[in-house]
Amino acid sequence: MTMANAGRPLEGIRVLDLSRVFAMPYCGAYLADLGAEVIKVETHHNAFVDTTRTLNGPYPDNKPGDLYYERGGTFHTLNRGKLSVTLDLRSEDALEVLRRLVSVSDVMLENFTPRVMRRFGLDYPNLKAVKPDLIMVSNTGYGHSGPWTNFGAMATALEPTHGTGAFTGYLDVDAHGNTSPGTVPNKIANSYTDFLASWTAQLAVLASLIHRARTGRGMWIDLAMYQVGTSFMGEGLLDFAFNGRRARRMGNRHETLSPHGCYPCLGNDQWAVIAARDDEDWLALCETMGMADLAGDARFVDPVTRHRNQDALDAIIAGWTASKNKYEVMNLLQAAGVPAGPVLDGRDMLKDPHFRARGYFESVEHEATTGLGRQEYVSRGWRMSGSDVRIRKSAPLLGEDNRYVLSQVLGLDDGKIAELEAAEAVGQTLAGAQTPSAVPLARQVELGWTVDYDEEYRK
């Protein structure tokens, strides 16, 4: 091994990424960050293209433009570092190209329904015949077995199906402002299950690579997002198994700690959280709020009474936070050792000194035709010493690497490539595309999709 590549854990590993939307594309992006060559196998036909190219945006200055499918910020986050080859799998020639690609790849990611993969002959038994030690992730809503196997799924609907809503929900509030455990389930933002599936797939692929290096054997990973999501609800499921408790919705409160909540701060939709772990935190909080007397109040003298009187306690704390900036709440309380912090939004995160100091956002230069210039993206929650793990390049243009893949990787001659192009089996322009219209930001604010916007955000 040369020094130059010693720092890329997945140097020399080739990944075929046939997946779409969030969970598996993000897995592919992380494998690219780790140094794998990740080839996104997509199509240039609008009806089958990855919908994050066409439906998600956001676009620079909210202007999709003619090349909108090369310009979406969510697509670029989820597909950074990859190469792109377009193969229209309805063509037998394109399918043959894909099978040849499988034979020279190590890992394949896909999230079609079991039915579709069998129809294309791209299910694991067929591909194993082409590449005996292939590692393949088949990501579906419900997995390749069981009574719901053919049900389609998407993360936002799966999330409460695997139990998040049993443990996430506001408290009920009566006419007098008294609270009781919540009866209405709520959701966790941002397609939560997609990300659980992505982390789970990454771990399974890496474990399988270790296994293959030791045994020479490949692996098929049947990743059911419903089951993955449930595995993160383990504490709740065991509470049922042992105690028969089906749900527990506590708003922002905690089983035992108090105060424990989310409090309004100065400004539009500004909030801070505060959590007192023990009497020491509680005394420090009273001191910081300038309410030392509160510590002696009979309603709040110990954890049990504080927990019982949280409605009154939360009102007092909210009265104190309401006149303060959320960062001021953070600074005052953290200086006193009390767990507290601002509820950060997207703008706050991009400007926050801690994320900045750690270099959390990684930037890449985009291809000139996209007009994106240099943009920065969320990276990873971890760093490895001495490893060159980073976002290597931007997401690819549609079919950007057709030539490289067909000619360099597979060794097809120019005649064969021209034939594929003429038959529309490969292509670089989105066929049947219609430039989406963007809803103006002012209208988005009215609709409640957007809280606010800055005209001067580039500064």
């Binding site: 969030f22 993160f232 504490e235 922002n252 989310c262 953290q334 995160m349 990873r380 001067e456």
Partner: protein
């Protein structure tokens, strides 16, 4: 003929992991590695143990150190020892364990390692093949690294909380310590990557996991919303058609959905509310424009359905409706049962119930729970005696010294 069970070869068999610290993130990370076959030794403080032993809920609501439900879930397939690294004898045992380990997973706050030999620099220098994964709230560097944090604080800093809940109410925490689970699995991903790399280079690595940044990596929409166009994405709007949101059915909540590739008429037919058969509702822009009208029709239509029947009917029509299930629904779920998701685990103090198992299914690999969560110091004799060669008297002496 007697069928002889051949032990299966799991991907991480032969990899030894020492788990130090406690609570949720490092134990979950190590549990995942154990599920893939690693030999995980959980190291706890003598007489005190992992703080998760004092975390509720408890079996029978009895706050006993072997009845913490989070602890029981997070620590299957591990062996447990006790040692106090602040004692000379305990430090010697720890050094021997470190010498036998491939991976250390720990989650001490920065600057709060219980012994100098657990400092990352020391480990990297003296055990160059060791992989050290350190999981903290904010990471090992940066201005907030020493901030006090619990799960609600890390979730707030991550940006995830701002987008959770309803736009007319405060941001809402997602319960069950999710930030630390997400940090744990990210720690396992980085550890596995380092193990794979070590097979080529022979070198260990140190890994710095930030819980806040692991969750922040979920924000593939909210961050570009601002960096691309200056917009601040918030919580779900209170107005809207009700699709992709939790809506009341007869016996609970469902999520009606127009996603997937079925035409509007399939959706309208399923819900069987006549008013929904209207071409104005067939497009996305129409559903925005007439959102409140659709909402009222959905309320009427869904009130005729039980959630499980609707979910079944949706699946059969290739629609992607969801439903709100509670822990009981999941425990009894016929789909999870047929996929053999649960494993019956017997624990000497807590008793025997079905535990949720492993998320993915891997070909040729049967997920097994071979051990329930360890009692405090349960494997001291096995590891210090049988493996590190301490005699019975030696062990008694270690106990008397408070080293174990």
């Amino acid at each position: 003929m007697v069928a002889r069970r051949i032990p299966q070869l799991l991907p991480l068999n032969g990899v030894r992991v020492l788990e130090l610290g406690g609570h949720v993130s490092a134990p979950f990370c190590a549990r995942l590695l154990a599920d893939y076959g690693a030999d995980v030794i959980k190291v706890e403080q003598p007489g005190i143990g992992d703080e998760a032993r004092r975390m509720g809920p408890f079996v029978g609501d009895d706050p006993h150190p072997d009845k913490s439900i989070p602890f029981l879930y997070l620590n299957t397939n591990k062996r447990g020892v006790t040692l106090d690294p602040a004692t000379t004898a305990g430090a010697r045992l720890l050094a021997e364990l470190l010498g036998s380990a491939d991976v250390v997973v720990e989650n001490y706050p920065p600057g709060e390692k219980p012994a100098p030999m657990l400092e990352t620099e020391y480990l990297a220098k003296h055990y160059p093949t060791l992989i050290v994964a350190s999981i903290t709230a904010f990471g090992q560097s940066g201005p907030y690294r020493n901030f006090a944090a619990t799960d609600i604080v890390t979730t707030a800093f991550s940006g995830l909380m701002y987008h959770s809940g309803d736009s007319d109410r405060e941001p809402l925490r997602n319960a069950l310590n999710q930030s630390f689970y997400v940090a744990g699995i990210n720690g396992a991903v980085a550890t596995a990557a380092a193990l794979f790399r070590r097979m080529a280079t022979g070198q260990g690595q140190t890994i710095d996991v930030s819980t806040v940044e692991c969750l922040a990596s979920h924000l593939v929409q909210a961050v570009p919303y601002y960096s691309y166009m200056g917009a601040i994405k918030g919580r779900r709007p209170v107005r809207g058609s009700g699709f992709e949101e939790l809506m009341p059915a007869r016996d609970g909540y469902v999520i009606p959905s127009v996603q997937g590739s079925q035409p509007w008429s399939t959706v309208a037919e399923l819900i069987s509310e006549p008013g929904l058969h209207d071409e104005r509702f067939a497009s996305g822009s129409g559903r925005i424009e007439y959102g409140e009208e659709i909402y009222d029709l959905l309320i009427k239509g869904l009130a005729q359905w039980d959630r499980k029947a609707l979910h079944q009917a949706s699946g059969e029509r290739r629609l992607v409706f969801g439903m709100a299930q509670d822990a009981g629904d999941l425990h009894e779920c016929p789909h999870l049962r047929e996929r053999e998701f649960f494993r019956t685990v017997s624990h000497p103090v807590a008793g025997e119930v079905d535990y949720p198992g492993m998320g993915p299914r891997l070909s040729g690999m049967e997920y097994e729970v071979t051990r329930a969560a360890p009692l405090l110091g349960e494997h001291n004799g096995e590891i210090y005696g049988d493996e590190l060669g301490r005699s019975a008297e030696g062990l008694a002496q270690l106990r008397a010294l408070g080293a174990i």
